[in-house]
Amino acid sequence: MSSTAELEHASPPAAAIYLTPPEDNYLTHDKGVMSWIFTLDHKRIGILYMGTVLSFFLVGGIFALSLRTELLWYNTPDKFHLDKELTLNLYNNMFTLHGAIMVFLFIIPAIPAIMGNLILPIMLGAKDVAFPRLNLMSLWIYWIGGTFFLYVLLGGVLHYGFAMFGHPNVNLPGGMGLDTGWTFYAPYSTTKSLAGVVPATLGAFVVGFSSILTGVNFITTLHILRPKGMTWFRMPLFLWGLYATSIIQILATPVLAITLLLVVAERTMHVGIFDPAIGGDPVLFQHFFWFYSHPAVYIMILPAMGVISELITVFSRKHIFGYNFIAFSSIAIALLGFLVWGHHMFVSGQSPMTDSIFSFITFSVAIPSAVKVFNWTATLYRGSIRFKTPMLYALGFILLFTVGGLTGLFLGALSTDVPLHDTYFVVAHFHYVMMGSMLFAFLGGMYYWFPKIFGKMYHEQTGQVAALVVFLGFNLAFFPQFIAGTQGMPRRWATYPEQYQIYHRFSTAGAYLMGLGLFIVAGNWIHALKRGNKAPPNPWGGNTLEWHCTSPPPYYNFKKTPAVDDPYALGAWEYVSEEQGWVPRHSEPPPLAPPGQNVAITH
C-alpha cells in the first residue's frame, strides 16, 4: 500500500503536450497498403484488428438475427411446410456459427486486441509494445484462423443453399457448416457430426495462438516498458484489466489448443480419449474444454471492467474510488477464474464431491465482482457527472453486469442449477455478462477513444440515442429469456412447445431493436470518419497518458515521455472549448494551431 502514499503527494501532471503537425501522425506516417499490412506500429495493428473483428461481429450478428427469426414460431418447419430435416440442420448451423464466431473471433479479441493494441502502449507511456513483429504476427495468425471459419461458413452456405433446391450432396471437402455448438462437445463432434468440425477446430486452434502471442506481448510490455514514474500502482486500471487478461490468455489458451488438437485426432485417427465407443470418456473432454473456456469468460469481461473504470472516473470528474481494491480484484478474478470450470458440469455426471468444491469456489468469484460494482458506484458520489455517450454505456454496463452477476448466483448454487442448467436462463445469463457487459464496455471504449484514434469527433446526440436504443433492445431481447428458462425452455432448440412462444416473440423483437441501435452506432462512426470535426488532444479531460499526446497520436506516441503520476488526478485539467477540449489548469489556453504548424503547450 506504499503506493497509495505516493498517490497522495502526486505532483501536478506535467503537461508536456507535443503537437505534431496533423500531416504527421501514425495514420499518415507511411502511405500505401503495404505500409499497413506490414506495419509494426501497434496503433495501425489495432486498427486492422478493429476492421477484421468488427466485420466478424457483423457476420455473427446476422446469424443471431436469423436464428431469432426462426424462433418467432414454435413450429417453423411445419408452419411453412419446409423440409424438416433441412430446417433443423440449418438452425443448428446458425446457432453454432453464431456462438463460435462471436466467441472466438469477436468477444475474445475485441477489447484486448483492438483497444489493447491501440491504447496500451500510449497509456503506459511506451513507444510500442515489446515485440512489434510478434504483434504483427498475431494479427496475421488471427487472419489465418478467421479464414478457416470463413471456409466452414462458405461450405455451409454452399451445402444448404444447394440442398434447398434439391441437391443435398454439394460439399466443400470437410466443410459443410458447423453443427456441434461452439463447445464442440464429444462424442457428438468426434463421431456423429457430419459438419466441418476439423476446419473449425483448427481455426479456433490458430486464433488461440494469436491470443497467446498478444498475451505474451502485453505482459512483457507491462513489465519491462514502464517508463519513469509509472509504478505498478500508477498504472491506469484499464492496464490492470489487460494484465489480468493476458495472464489468463497465456495460461488457459494452450489447453484449448491441445483440446482441439485431440478433437481433430479423435475425429481423424480415432485415438479414443473422448469417444466412449473406443474407451474414451466424454466428461474428460468437458474438463479439458472448460479449463480454457471458463477463464475465457474472464478474458472477455476483465478488460471490459478496465474500460469501465476509466470511463466512470473521467466522466464523473472524480478520482476512481478504491483503486487498489479494483486492481487487486481483477487479479483475484483472473486467478480464481481458473478454479471454477466445473460449474459447467453440475449435471453432466461429475462426482458430487467435485461439484461441491467447484460450487464453493464459484461463489468466491462473486465477491471481487461485487466489490468492483460497489466501487464504480461509489466513484459517482460527489462527482460532476457528464452524460456523454461513453458514460451512458458505462452506466448501462453497471446495470447489465449487476443483473448478469446476480443471476449467476442461481447457477452457482448446486440445487438451483439443476433445473436451470442448459435452459434459456443460462443463455440469458451469459448474454447479460458476455454480450451485454462486454459489448457495452466495448462500445463505450470505442466512443471514448474514437477522437484519440482517428482525430475526429463523432456526433454526440446520435451516439446518445443509439446507446439508449441498444440498451432497451438488449433488455427486451434477453430478459424474457430468464423467464422462459425458468419455465423450462431448453437451449439450442429449433422448435419448442407452444407455451414458450410469447417469450421468444419478445426476445426476437428486442434483437431487432438492438440490431437497429447497432446500425445507428455504425452510421455514426462512419459519418464521423468522413466528416467529423477535428478532435482536440484531450476532449474528455482524462489524465491517463494517451490524452497527453495529440489526436491522432504521432508515430512514436511521445517524443518526450511526460512525467507520470496519479492517472486519476483529474483536477489538473480544465475545460476550454469544443475545439480545444481540456487543457492543463493554470495555463493560458493555447492559440488555435494554424494549419501545418505545431504548437507546444508547456507547463
Binding site: E85, L88, N92, P168, D179, P187, T191, K192, S193, L194, P276, P282, V283, R317, K318, H319, F321, G322, Y323, N324, F325, V347, S348, G349, P352, S356, S359, F360, F363, I367, V371, V373, N375, T377, A378, L380, R382, S384, F387, L399, L406, T407, L409, F410, G412, A413, L414, S415, T416, V418, P419, D422, I483, T486, Q487, G488, P490, A494, Y496, P497
Partner: protein
Amino acid sequence: MFMHPSILPILADIWMPRAASTVAGPIDWLFYFILYICIFFFFLILGLLVAFSWMYRYQPGKTQGPAPKHSTALELTWTFIPTVIVIVIFYYGFKGYLDLAVPPPNAYPVIVLAQTWGYQFQYPDGAIDDVLHIPAGRPVELILNSKDVIHGFYVPEFRLKKDIVPGRFNRLWFQANEPTEPDKPYDVYCTQYCGQGHSTMRSTVTVDSRIDFDKYIYKISHFVGPPPAQGRHIYEKHQCIGCHSVDGTRMTGPTWKNMWGNPVDFESGPRLAAVDAAYIRESILQPGAKIVKTFSNVMPPQSLKDEEINEVIAYIQTLSDNYKPPATTQPTSGPATAPTTAPSAPLTASAGSAPASDSTK
C-alpha cells in the same frame, strides 16, 4: 421452513412452473430466496446510480465538493456482506444437492435408454415403452444410459435434470406424490445438444396411482400378438418410429414402405437386388455396415433379441404393397388372440388399447 412463493405472487406466477416432485420444494425455496436477494441488490445499485446521476450531474457553476478516494472500512463492509450471503446460499444449495444425489434404497428403478433422437424406458420386469409412467408416492430412481452421444433428461415440473452420458450411468431420483390429471402428462426434454433432432427429442412422464401403475406395467409387459403386430409394437417402442416412416415420407432414415423385396442402392458397395431378411437383420445389428444412398448413418446398433428381429422383419414385409397375408395369420391391426400360455386378455397391436385388467374382470 419453506418461504412460500406467494409472498410475491406476481413473481411466483411467472417463474418456476408447478412443483410436482418432493425435491422441488427445497429447490424452489432456494430459488425464491436468491431471487429476493437479487431484487434487493439490483434495486440498491439502480437506486444509487439514479440518485447519484441526478444529484451529482454536471451543472455549470456548481463546484464539486471534496470526496474520498478510498475508504478501507467501506471496502471491507462490502466485501464482508456479500461473502456471508454467498456462503449461506452455497450451504442451502449444497444441502439440497445432497438430497438429490443419494436415492433411498427402496427406490423403484427405471432404466432410461436414450439414442438419437428419442427415449426408451425400461421397467424392472423388462417392460419397455417410449413414455415414462411412475407410481405416485414412491421414490423412483432413473438410471440414465445413452446408446450414442450425450443427451439430457429434464422434467421442469420435477426440477430434475441430468445429462445422459454414454459409457457412464448417471442416476437421479425423485418422488411424485400427486397423480397427473388424465391426458395431462409432464414433458420430458432433451437438454444436451445431440444433433439434428435435438429439439424434437421429447417424451412425457405420467404419474399413476399405484393400481393404475400396476395395470399399466401389466399391459405393456404382456403385449401379445402375431409377429407383424409384435413388429409394429417394437417399431413404436424401440424408437424406430423416430427415424423411419412407414408411409413413404423421407425422414432421417429410409422409409420402410415398400422396402421389402425391392432393390436398394448404397453409398458404397454393389446394389442389393432385393431387400431380404439378412439385409434387414444386418442393418439392425450393424447399422453402419451398408448405408443407403443419400442417407447418413446416425443409427446406433440395436440390441434386439432374434425373435424380436424376426418380428420386425415380419412387420416390414406387411408394408410392401404386394404383401399377401398368409391365410393362417390374422390381419395385423385387428385384435389378436393370445396364446394359452399368456393371460387371456384381448390386446391390440398398438399398446394404446384398454387396460388389460379391466377386460379381465
